[in-house]
Amino acid sequence: MEFLDLTIRELHNELVKKTVTPLELVREALLRAKSDANNAFELIMEKEALNLASKLKEPEANNLFWGIPFAIKDNFSTKDVATTASSNILNGYVPVFDAAVVKRLLDAKAIPIAKTTLDELAMGGSGTTGHLGTTYNPYDRKREHLIGGSSCGSAASVAASIVPFALGSDTGDSIRKPASYAGLVGFKPTWGRISRFGLFPFATSLDHVGYFTRSIFDAASLLNILAGRDDEDSTSSEVPVEDYTRLLTTDIRGARIAVIKEVVESIYDKDIGAAFQKTLASLRARGAHIEYVSIDRKLLESLFPTYIVISCAEATSNNANLDGIKFGPHYEAPTYEGTIMQARTKGFSELIKRRFVIGSFCLMKENQEVLFLRAQKIRRMVVEKITAILSDFDVIFVPASPTPAPRIGEMSDRLSDEYLIADNHMIIGNFAGLPSITLPIGFKKNLPFGGNITGSPFAEARVLQIAKVVEDISGFYNLSTRTAKV
């Protein structure tokens, strides 16, 4: 049986009909996970998953997640299951509590089958920097292409149909970029919509919990159970949670969609450009109002440096708890400085150290004003600009990436428009904490690429409505390496 090629909703129907049991599903998922060739997993939770699955007997018709296997990015705390954030400094760390989202899914009787790889401590966009090495894009059997990061393992496991959904985190575009490279729906709702409790922090003010699915319906149904106030995360919102699946519609007449001119102009890939224009035309044909809006290039070009300053500054503080004293590898030394220095010297890769040095530098008294505080000011300018646009439009729609998945080791020119603008514009969604979703809109040769839809704070329902229509237009529903006809 190939049940795991199905989406969550489809699997649910089979479970309710009892054509398959949770135990059979989990066995199939574990089998696929074990034969994974893309380095998607930190840890396969075989014993735990089989144990949970064997307890589920009577299907729950009203609970879409009953018996559904899923994967968890390894920067979510999982009780009694080692969690390393793909960093050596956390080798051997076994948390004593579940992240809020993990708990919600467990309460819904979904079954975690694995912890997935990430760029070390979620800092990176390539999926190549975790302590287990590069995670590959399942669309390329020759393993020459990236899947992107930092949520690389979660993206790979959903794209390869090992699980129908996986948890991820998104600080710059760590869900939405790999979603583009892996032909997936990658969604991060509004900052505060989903509790971050138990997510290992990278840059608190930019961190979002999100997930990968293979359909918009599944994305909406996941939000139904993950959204909502959590007293353990005081930044989580009291705004009422809606029924996002019920609000899905195919009628988008009158919807106002903004396209950022400078982003589109910075994309030189003809196939991506064409697929995007085709999608726009179809949206227009269905009654949406499409309009190009402009954002000062200078502001767009400063997104990346601003992001680096803020994220590195917060990261250096957030990761100061990793000192080898309380958990992770411990080194004896005559002084506490010695213990901390050894743990951090041996535990972090050079890339991480570089980020911490940058972050520390930006926070130094003599630099705060010109670096950290100036970055905050630019962030505010970006937020004001995007808020102004969204006051006039339902959503902003742009290509999610300037290219399909790049080759491993292929570095784009970091000063080009293509890099500074087209490769980094999704950071806007993190600066402003906006609901933002990537979904497939086309293929170039064998590699998928996506479009990105971003809406106003807590307008998840609207974002999902428009995404649903884009999914209908593209026909890329339940896209995976097993179902893609390429």
Binding site: N75, F76, S77, T83, A85, L90, Y93, P95, V96, F97, A99, R196, F197, G198, L199, F200, P201, T204, S205, D231, E232, D233, S234, T235, A313, E314, T316, S317, N319, A320, N321, L322, D323, I325, K326, F327, Y336, E337, T339, I340, S360, L363, M364, K365, Q368, F372
Partner: protein
């Protein structure tokens, strides 16, 4: 040359809230190490802070008692540094916007001086380190305990004044129910910054910090020592070194801990896990209005309406629990002065003798009030009152029970009844009346004895003697 000491104090107060500042772990002192911990207190990855509401209320109360401006927006910052007692690698504190600013406190030594207070902010405690010869143990029970830090301006001029200032702040935090204020247990910790300058000079001298002051007396001793030490150095033309010193209890001297080079850069920035919280005006007002009565207010009440002596008021206020005992008793009587005499006299003497805390004192405030009232109404004599008091304590009985046991009936103070007894006696013993007229005072005692006998000892002796003399004169 005459020097002037310029002294500023930083006081850390551990709050005795039910749970920690940013976590749900309970706050308790003197329990088994590492038993009061939730993952947040050890900075396990993914844990997040949540603000303790009661701690904010406490900080508002203290800030108000110190006449401070209270910020209506609660903002927290991170103070970043690595240390073995700091689990997160940063401390959550308030840097840019302390909850209280620009306060003051009057301190009375030979004169009354107003000490300005720069700021009061909320923060969390670190874990406790126990150092041994070749290892250190960490107790995370203290990690995250709520603190308030109160920073004075350098307005203090002497060790005595510093001690009085700390005493006054200690009284505020104890009476406001914010802390137990026990310096010896570290609930109230004090760091002193001290420099000297020529009298009349506006320029500040080099500052020395003194730590580890665990009693009021030591604050004064350390400052007095430090003033003499710096004075001597300056007179010898030796410059003062900017350093941190600690007070050594054994030698009663301050000794160098570390020389301060450049100040540490704590790389403060706003805590992103706690978005600024707007404190509603009514929340602040309610926090202040519901603050338990402070010693200063109690003193005004005692010396004003209740008419207590300064001595009694100050004895009562030396202990919050004793003041509470007195206040509860004072709600049951209006004989405040008599009550205060009893509390500061018999009660305190008993408690001291038995060395038991007032909260364990057997006689309830209302019972004591009852006893005081009986004496004041002249139902019983003071002597009988003391007998009853002793009986109550030795047999754990009520006023009524003790009195019955001792056979002390209600005194007769009704004049018409007493006069009836007197008339009977005078009629029965005319010779005694004669004796009295002849100037034989003995007769008076005899007659009173007879009246006592007749009344079963119930008549008020003082009143009886007064009325008897009047009746005799009439005859």
């Amino acid at each position: 040359m005459n020097f002037e000491a310029v002294i500023g104090l930083e006081i850390h107060v551990e709050m005795k809230t039910r749970s920690k500042m940013f976590s749900s772990a309970p706050v308790e002192f003197g329990v088994e190490p590492n038993t009061l911990i939730v993952p947040n207190d050890m900075a396990f990855p993914g844990t997040m802070p949540t603000v303790n509401r009661q701690a904010v209320i406490n900080a508002i109360r203290v800030a108000d008692a110190l006449h401070m401006q209270i910020d209506e927006v609660l903002v927290f910052d991170r103070k970043n540094y690595f240390y073995s007692d700091l689990p997160k690698g940063y401390q959550i504190t308030q840097d840019k916007r302390p909850i209280g600013r620009n306060g003051h406190l009057d301190v009375k030594t030979d004169v009354v001086r107003t000490i300005s207070i720069e700021r009061l902010h909320i923060e969390e405690d670190t874990c406790k380190q126990l150092h041994f010869s070749d290892y250190t143990l960490l107790d995370y029970n203290r990690s995250g305990v709520p603190l308030i830090e109160i920073v004075s301006r350098p307005d203090i001029r002497s060790g005595d004044e510093a001690m009085k200032y700390v005493e006054a702040i200690r009284s505020v935090v104890i009476y406001a129910d914010v802390s137990d204020g026990k310096m010896e247990e570290g609930s109230l910790r004090c760091d002193v910054n001290i420099s000297l300058r020529p009298l009349g000079s506006a320029k500040l001298g080099t500052k020395v910090e003194v730590k580890n002051l665990n009693s009021l007396a030591n604050i004064q001793r350390a400052i007095d020592f430090e003033v003499r030490r710096q004075e001597r150095s300056l007179l010898l033309g030796q410059p003062i070194v900017q350093e941190t010193r600690r007070f050594d209890e054994a030698t009663r001297e301050t000794i160098t801990m570390r020389i301060k080079t450049d100040a540490v850069d704590y790389k403060y920035f706003t805590e992103p896990n706690l978005t600024p919280i707007r404190l509603r005006r009514d929340f602040i007002d309610e926090a202040i209005a519901s603050c338990p009565e402070l010693a200063e207010t109690k003193a005004r009440r005692y010396l004003g309406d209740q008419g207590l002596s300064e001595r009694d008021a100050s004895i009562i206020l030396q202990s919050k629990d004793l003041a509470q005992y007195y206040d509860e008793a004072a709600r049951c009587t209006t004989n405040y002065k008599a009550l205060a005499n009893w509390v500061t006299g018999e009660v305190v003497a008993y408690l001291n003798k038995k060395s038991i805390p007032v909260e364990n004192f057997f006689i309830s405030p209302s019972q004591l009030a009852l006893l005081v009232d009986s004496i004041e109404r002249k139902d019983i004599s003071s002597k009988q009152g003391r007998d009853i008091f002793a009986e109550m304590l030795s047999t754990t009985s009520s006023v009524k029970e003790a009195r019955e046991k001792l056979g002390i009936a209600t005194q007769i103070s009704d004049e018409s009844i007493i006069i009836t007894y007197i008339s009977e006696a005078l009629t029965a013993f005319p010779e005694s009346v004669e004796d009295y007229r002849d100037g034989k005072d003995r007769a008076l005692g005899f007659l009173i004895g007879q009246i006592m006998k007749k009344s079963g000892g119930k008549v008020n002796p003082g009143l009886t003697s007064k009325l008897l003399v009047e009746e005799l004169k009439k005859r």
